[in-house]
Amino acid sequence: MAKGFTLWFTGLSASGKSTLAERVRDLLLERGMKVEVLDGDVVRQNLSKGLGFSKEDRDTNIRRIGFVCNLLTRNDVVAIGAAISPYRAIRDENRKLIGRFVEVYCKCDIDTLKNRDPKGLYEKALRGEIENFTGVSDPYEAPEKAEVVVDTANEDIDTSVERIIGTLEQMGYIPAGDGRGYSEDEEESIKERLRDLGYI
């Protein structure tokens, strides 16, 4: 079976995409997988250098990241894309191109984002100093069918990571078990309880 897949993080600025991408990358590396992260901020400094924030440039940027993710995926590498990727149609285009594609929507309300604002961008955007700022002066189209929705305003990072890893296991993209969910002893206890009620 193919081993590569693309894990695509989408969400507003400061919603936790890069943090989660790094945490998931580390866990997958620990499991002996080949992993590459394509972070939107980093990509804009090289692969997409010179692109701006018009809709056309944003679409080009996301298509470029999708193109590289596809190359990595078909060579059995786990490609992690972490970019605002505001437009549903372009994300779906990448989904179609890559096939083995898992979308993670980092959901977070605007008040929480404004409070986080590590780069002071929301403050500037709200003052009108930044044009085309997603979520303030530019649209963000939330996914309708993301494989995982992580509520980064309300849940802690460990929970979000556990949920993403759980999804990858459930979808068969990574092996089940390996230290998450239940320990072996817990799994035995659960089997016993399910057996006691005739469920297995």
Binding site: V149, D151, T159, Q170, G172, P175, G177, G181, E186, E192
Partner: protein, 436 residues
């Protein structure tokens, strides 16, 4: 102003009775076993409700708490099979892929107190407080926030009854059920007082346990344990009555009890035989094992074309979907149709026993449809579908007295619900009432 705003705030209280069927509830109310229930439901509003497919608590309660389809929330049963190894895996609360309506209430600054909710283990943060129910193992991992743990330990809180003892000693089971209900009541009172909740929920799971092991005593007046079992339902009646009274003594918006809901997550019926689907698949040449004494579907051969998981979930061993899949994607529809036709013909003493065969697309809509079973079967009451890999016999006697059913769960509420409700409808109803 602040007081007025608080008085107008709509609250909801839900009492869940795991596995209590509509007909039984009605009978217990009509025959004065449950007089408080009778009083509460007398104005109407009691409906028969469809549970999830398959009708098991982990799926049904996940549909309740998310309002989502299993292909959206990702919980298809108590077990899943890992596509790379066919090993059984046991979904945790972290596997729930859709947000709960408690999360949505939290976004509107509403707080929830949820006690003994199945399929929420290990507990994770919710806006308020959560005590996980079945399959919760340790209390320490079942409580959020952890500050509540010492109080629960001090009151001797029990997550569940001793299931191993239940099979061998029905009298001990009854004593255990009563004691567990009492600790549930104490915990519910504690959270009622301690949490500033807008949404309160407590689930009684003892009803499901009782009905699995002692359905005959529930259903038949001539059973020697009938009186004691009815006393258990009377205790549940007092439990419901207590929270109904508490709710109506609450803020002004609660006084008519509009936001009060009673519900079950599936129905129940008497069981006579188990139908072991993997034995049937093997007998008919669709499945074989590499081991003499297989312990799970991890022991199937690569030539296996279909296998079953509990309770009536059939998966085709499709290439690309499973590591050793042997069924080409193009052949899958014909194989599925062939299986559906042959399964319909299974009979016991001349009577057909499979009542419904649902194809994947009829049940599942969402991003995880490709993980869903290809067929979901329902059986005639009395014949309990099983996904065990044990034994060669298709029809086997069982020590259980009760089995789950699909279309006779119940819901009672004065809130506007669809005429023919499904359990996944209720999240929207509750959110609609609370948030307007």
């Amino acid at each position: 102003m602040r007081l007025l705003r608080r008085q107008r705030k709509r609250r909801v209280c839900v009492v869940g009775l795991d596995g209590v069927p509509f007909q039984l509830l009605k009978r217990l109310a009509d025959t004065a076993v449950m007089p408080r229930l009778s009083e509460i439901i007398q104005d109407g509003g009691l409906r028969q409700m469809r549970a999830s497919l398959p009708p098991v608590s982990s799926v049904s309660w996940s549909c309740f708490m998310t309002g989502a389809n299993p292909a959206e929330h990702g919980i298809f049963g108590f077990t899943d099979v890992a596509p790379d190894s066919y090993r059984l895996r046991f979904p945790t609360f972290a596997d729930l892929a859709a947000p709960t309506f408690w999360d949505k209430l939290g976004e509107s600054r509403r707080r929830c107190a949820v006690i003994n909710q199945p399929a929420t283990y290990p507990a994770r943060p919710i806006p308020g407080a959560l005590v996980s129910g079945f399959v919760a193992l340790q209390l320490g991992k079942s409580v959020w926030p952890k500050d509540h743990l010492p109080a629960l330990q001090a009151m001797g809180y029990r997550i569940d009854v001793d299931l191993q003892q239940a099979r061998d000693n029905p009298d001990l089971l009854l004593a255990d059920l009563e004691a567990t209900l009492e600790t549930r009541r104490r915990a519910a009172r504690y959270f009622w007082e301690r949490e500033e909740w807008d949404y309160f929920q407590v689930v009684v799971t003892g009803t499901d346990r009782l009905q699995h092991f002692l359905w005959n005593a529930v259903d038949r007046e001539d059973d020697p344990r009938h009186a004691r079992v009815m006393a258990y339902y009377r205790a549940i009646d007092e439990f419901i009555g207590e929270f109904w009274d508490r709710f109506r003594r609450g803020q002004s918006a609660d006084r008519e009890g509009e936001g009060f809901l009673l519900l079950s997550d599936h129905g129940f019926a008497a069981v006579n035989k188990e139908i072991r689907l993997n034995a049937w698949l093997r007998e008919n040449g669709y499945l074989d094992y590499q081991a003499d004494d297989p312990t799970s579907v991890a022991d199937i051969t690569p030539a296996t074309r279909a296998f079953a998981l509990d309770p009536g979930r059939l998966h085709l061993n499709v290439k690309g979907r499973f590591a050793s899949g042997c069924v080409a994607l193009s052949e899958a529809p014909a194989l599925r149709a062939e299986l559906a036709a042959r399964l319909k013909e299974i009979t016991f003493e001349g009577r057909p026993v499979i009542t419904h065969i649902f194809e994947r697309e009829q049940i599942y809509q969402g991003p995880r449809t490709n993980l869903a079973p290809d067929l979901v079967l329902l059986s005639e009451p009395g014949f309990d579908l099983k996904g065990t890999t044990k034994g060669d016999e298709v029809f086997v006697d069982t020590h259980f007295q009760g089995m789950h059913t699909w279309d006779d769960a119940f819901v009672w509420t004065h809130l506007p619900i669809p005429d023919s409700p499904e359990i996944s409808d209720l999240a929207k109803v509750i959110l609609g009432w609370m948030l307007g």
